[in-house]
Amino acid sequence: MLVEGGNNIVSYLIVLLFLASFIMNFTDIPQRIQLQRYSSFVRRKIYQLEELEVDARRKAVSYMSSLGVSEPAKVLEGFINNFFLIRPVELEPTDIIRRYKHLIRTRESSVRDYVRAVLGRVERSVQHSVETVLEVVGVIRLINKLVRHYLELGLKYNNWILVMQLAIQMPEIVELTKAYANSLNAFTSGLPIGDSVGPLVAKIISNWGEPSREVIEGTDLYEVEVEGRKVYVIKASGPGSNVGWPGEALERVIEEIGGPVDRIITVDAALKLESEETGDVAYGTGAAIGDIGPEKIAMERVASKYSIPLDAVVVKMSEVEALSPLSRKLYEATVRAYEEVLRIIREKVKEGGRVIVIGVGNTVGVR
């Protein structure tokens, strides 16, 4: 009896296995189950994103309240869904940089006018920080909207591949959103972030002096002497959150000098590969600047016009680190990057020569 019973169970199990195998291989049921699993995972992550957005909005509103803005929530709402930028036609590349530059400047001035209207007369660094805070909340809102869009699109058309891809990317998206949300603390308190390494190096080279003048709006020029070489240092005006216009400033400085510059050195934060260490300092050739195009091309054009060698010194970090307050590791890397710039000046620029150093990046917390 026992043996017979055992055989029955085995037969049932074998039938069950065949049935399961049929379901797994010849129906869409596994994919539907996966769709449900992945979509519920994405939904859980969306709750996290929503919490981050609510927190970011609260911080932005409280920051603007502390500056005396009346109805800060309304100001925030007025900004978030507006001020988008439509990219210029790329099919026709003629004068695309000029068109890009025009659109970027137009948007920037619209944002500036909007913030100026609600803030009234305040220090420029405060104005810049409010603009950045609004931009950051706008980015967090956009990430939330995009994630929801792809989830709903996937569910609407039963596109389990789309939902699965979204689910796989969610931890990275949440991490990036957290970095944006955390960056608000730095922007509202005026703390240097990872992306400030370029302006920090520029400030060290200028020996923490005062700028000799503002080359163009929001971009300062320092003139110092380093071991018998004349060094022009360009960086965004701080200590508010500002990246300035380093390309245009470089063009203007070289045109004013009339061309005879021995070297241009750009210093910036660079995104590291996962296999690289945070704080690695590397040097190379070219313009180290993470810009859509106009500033970078301005550097390349003026350097090639006068045949000036263009060097780049970068400090490696992740996107999260670039947006978070500067860590000790990155501070030490900043000192190493400064030493690297000094080495290039010593070895490649003769005594009595001229060199331009550009500290590229956000100058928040760096005067």
């Binding site: 043996v3 055992g6 055989n7 169970i9 085995v10 199990l13 308190s189 005026g190 703390l191 240097p192 920090l200 400030k203 060290i204 020996n207 923490w208 002096g209 701080g238 200590p239 978070s324 307050p325 500067l326 860590s327 000790r328 990155l330 501070y331 900043t334 917390g365 760096v366 005067r367």
Partner: protein
């Protein structure tokens, strides 16, 4: 008991363990808490003397914060960074 049945049971248990093991391991491994502190590095722009202190609200890089105890030169905030201390 039928050896085939035993084999199937063992296989099911092994499958269950391999499915749950990564989840169990991940849930028991908790990251160590970290305490963070903001640090301001001060530097005399004449002699290069450096000092480290806790960040004061309103500090920014380049802010003049007094005179050097060594040669009376101007002392400025050289850098502000976050120092992390693992706890526990």
């Amino acid at each position: 008991m039928d050896p085939l049945l035993v084999g199937l049971l063992i296989l099911s248990v092994l499958l269950l363990i391999t499915t749950l093991l990564p989840w169990l391991v991940a849930s028991t491994r908790k990251p160590r808490p970290i305490r963070e502190e903001l640090i301001s590095v001060l530097r005399c722009i004449r002699c290069g003397y450096e000092e480290v202190r806790k960040y004061d609200k309103g500090d920014y890089v380049g802010k003049p914060v007094g005179t050097c105890p060594k040669d009376g030169g101007k002392v400025v905030v050289k850098a502000i960074y976050v120092e992390s201390f693992p706890q526990g």
